[in-house]
């Protein structure tokens, strides 16, 4: 631990080139940016959920609000006020 405090060993961070080149964007960053916004979630079982993203965790389990479910038999007419979606079947998230 002491070694880290030695001035010679401290890593000088090069100045970040922020605006010039887009840095790598982590997938979870994309989801994090969508918190509070409307998203569409596609599952592996041909189901789709559209709603407002409230939160998520490392497993991509998601809390969604005012959700409309869509499957291959059509759009459900009732809106789910608040739901937790298991991340296990999530295939794709589309911010809108």
């Amino acid at each position: 631990m002491l070694v880290l405090l030695h001035p010679y060993l401290q890593v000088q961070n090069p100045p970040m080139s922020e605006a010039s080149e887009p840095q790598t964007i982590l997938p979870l960053e994309v989801i994090d940016k969508s918190v509070g916004k409307k998203i569409r979630v596609l599952l592996t079982n041909d189901k789709e959920f559209t709603g407002t993203l409230i939160g998520f965790d490392d497993f991509v389990n998601m809390v969604l609000e005012d959700v409309v479910e869509e499957s291959n038999d059509g759009v459900s007419d009732k809106v789910i006020k608040k739901m937790l979606l298991n991340g296990g079947q999530v295939a794709m998230i589309v911010p809108s």
Binding site: V35, G36, N45, V63, K82, N86, G88
Partner: protein, 72 residues
């Protein structure tokens, strides 16, 4: 700002304990009841659980345990 509105799944779950919930499984069957407890595997215990197949009410159960991997 987003810190206030952000509710991650674990917080959401602790918030809704005691409320009446609907749990959808992979197989399309839904179970409604009062959420008694839930853990990190998303194992779920419902009180006064009712089985809903499609829109019809199936069996009535007392306490129901749902193994986490089945939940959608």
């Amino acid at each position: 700002m987003s810190e206030i509105t952000k509710t991650d799944p674990s917080k959401f779950l602790s918030d809704i304990i005691g409320n009446s919930v609907v749990v959808k499984l992979h197989n399309g069957i839904q179970y409604s009841g009062n959420l008694q407890s839930i853990d990190g595997f998303m194992n779920i215990v419902l009180d006064d659980g009712k089985e809903l197949v499609g829109n019809e009410v199936g069996k009535n159960f007392g306490d129901v345990f749902i193994r986490g991997n089945n939940g959608t």
